[in-house]
Amino acid sequence: MSDGVVKILEGNTFVVSDDRGDIEASMSDPTGLFSFDTRFLSRWVLSIDGERLNALSTDDLQYFETRFFLVPGTGTVYVDSQMSVIRQRAVGDGFFESLTILNHQDKAVDATVRVDADCDFADLFEVKDALEKKGKYYTSVDNGRLLLGYERGPFKRETLISASEPAQIDEHGLTFAVTIEPHGRWSTDLEVVTALLGFGDERARTKYGRGSRHAKPNMERDLEKWIADAPALECDWDSMKTTYRRSLVDLAALRFSPLTASGRSLPAAGLPWFMTMFGRDSIFTSLQSLPFAPELAATTLRELGERQGSRTDDFRDEDPGRILHEMRYGEMTAFEERPHSPYFGCADATPLYVVLLDEYERWTGDTKLVRDLEYEARAALNWIDQYADLMGNGYISYQRRNEDTGLENQCWKDSWDSISYRDGRLPGFPRATCELQGYAYDAKVRGARLARLVWNDPAFAEKLEKEAAALKRRFNRDYWVEDGEYFALALDSEGKQVDALASNNGHLLWSGIVDKSKAKAVARHLMGPRLFSGWGVRTLAEGEQRFNPIGYHVGTVWPFDNSFIAWGLRRYGFKDEAATIAAGILDAATFFEGRLPEAFGGYERTQTKYPVQYPTSCSPQAWSTGAPLLLLRTMLGLEPIGEYLAVDPALPQQIGHLELLDIPGRWGHMDAFGRGRVDVAKRTTRRKG
């Protein structure tokens, strides 16, 4: 996203405009007003007497509200303007814009104010892939309202535009002939309503417009409460405090409330393009934020459970018990040109669902939810063995059944070249990536605990434990690359090792599937020069044929990945190593004012001195937002043990004194304290010279 692009949102409605507040989208240009994955305005341009405006400043009042200060003319900011314009916009079921023009002269002025409007009703997927529309457009002007519409059979989407002041409305916009008194002002309210016809609710007004039935929420207060409810952080290192606060605020903005959640929220994947439910992203982010905002995990579990697969559907890669990958609402999904209604093609969310349920109970003691979701959890565990073992070798593997629009790689490293052999060849399908086996192992171990503790089914618990033990044994034999002393990235369709060295090894530590005797070698690799860049662990090791420090999943460093790797290192007792990773990622965060990008370049830290951001369109990204939270948990060694919270800090020296106060959980609220003692410089095997 280039500078000067302003994003505001509420739920899955958002506006992307330039710094004047104007929208001039093309089919391939991702600006506009979007709602339910459809563009509802592709042109929204303000001019006065035929002249475009110039931005003086932009204020983000809230994440759903922005104010633009403008003057007429272009490039003439050095000349004192005789007029200024304030454009204030709030999003919610469309948007509401207050337009005010101030006359700074001693005499009255006449002006023609024009707002051009148009819409292409593009589906988000069409914007991404620049596709042609199949339906037809219609426009009408009546009752002081401009209606822009699009229909394709029964599918109808409309944008309704109106103003509070008299306007001349034509099919391309609104014109106001105004006279402004000396030192006076003129203003109008513009309302843009998005309508999904036949979808149950036909909205006539924007959510936060004047006279709307929704009182405009006091977001300031909502945000203050959100932050007050989270543990308080005190720390000698100011950057840590900045990063922590940024994470909490961004997590608030990323809250997404599905139609069925009665107002409760779960973390969406990223802002603005991924403001929807994603199985994997919502689960990982919920895990990261458990010690801080455990209610996100509860909603994630409930809502994903509501949508759990119930049948076999090849187009959607759905199986009974499978947890969804992604849900979308746009035209292409509606006409089944895309499978996202919802789409299930992901191999990790299902075991991770059980992992989250157990981890949630360990923190909160909420056995009621575990009881409520027994059916869903059992169905998820059943999926692992009955539907995910495509090769019949006891491992989860994936191969899409929707070969047209399904996902090829159904693990978190989902780009085309992410899974390779050392020599760069790509394996065929099915593919059984290693971390999936770790998640399956963990799901079985944790499922067994829940079966014994809550479901009162010791026989099922025993069965799961036996399966887990057998899986661990086989895994440590079949995936271990003898000559490299690490776990292979995957097994291919013939059961042979896909032998590249990758960050997935860290997730294996997190899952606990690694034999104790092998953990040291794995940790050595993670902290060694081929994987550790100085900022964090690279997705793929230097020296592998496909390694590229700016390759999406083949060399970049992902904060989310690293937060789980650090957790894994801690699990096997490598406290200092975990602290070293935390130090690197948190150092990197200081270059982004606390907002970690999805990924940054895998260049050697000593070479670039600063983390080179990988260009992505989404910011903040949920699991990057969650990374500092999980790193805090990891550094403090927070672990629920029975009814207590164990604290065992191992903090990097630079952090100094750190306290995390009022950590919520089954113990009520607890405080954790620590002092930085780990000299991170000693913990990496740096390259010489």
Partner: protein, 120 residues
């Protein structure tokens, strides 16, 4: 674990017979009433469903319901026989909904698997 297993040719009647015959674990946490108003030119047929924690009673009464879904008979038959997907039909605007979408969302998971993968 498929929600309902029909024997022989799938049919709307068969689907609902099957539905009422056994406890539905997918609806175990659900209590409420749902009515499908199925239209075919001037004809209206109703399927009224009472769900009590997974136990389902089906009738043809035109009784009140928490959620009412109005749709065309051809589409209804396709959905109930596993030849069309209800969620996609909803997004296309082919289901007119009154009441809570939650109940429909839950109920649609009981519709059978798509017969030959995708239909459009």
């Amino acid at each position: 674990m498929p929600a309902t297993k029909q024997t022989g040719e799938p049919s709307t009647q068969g689907f609902f017979d099957e539905l009422g015959a056994q406890h539905q674990p997918l609806l175990a946490k659900t209590t409420g009433t749902l009515r499908f108003d199925v239209t075919e030119s001037d004809n209206l047929e109703c399927w009224h469903i009472t769900i009590t924690n997974g136990d389902v009673v089906v009738s043809r009464e035109v009784a009140d319901a928490d959620t009412i879904i109005r749709l065309e008979k051809s589409l209804f038959d396709e959905i109930v026989c596993g030849r069309a997907n209800a969620m996609a039909a909803g997004l296309r605007g082919e289901l007119a909904l009154e009441g809570s979408p939650e109940l429909v969302m839950r109920f649609q998971r009981l519709f059978p698997a798509l017969v030959a993968g995708r239909t459009s």
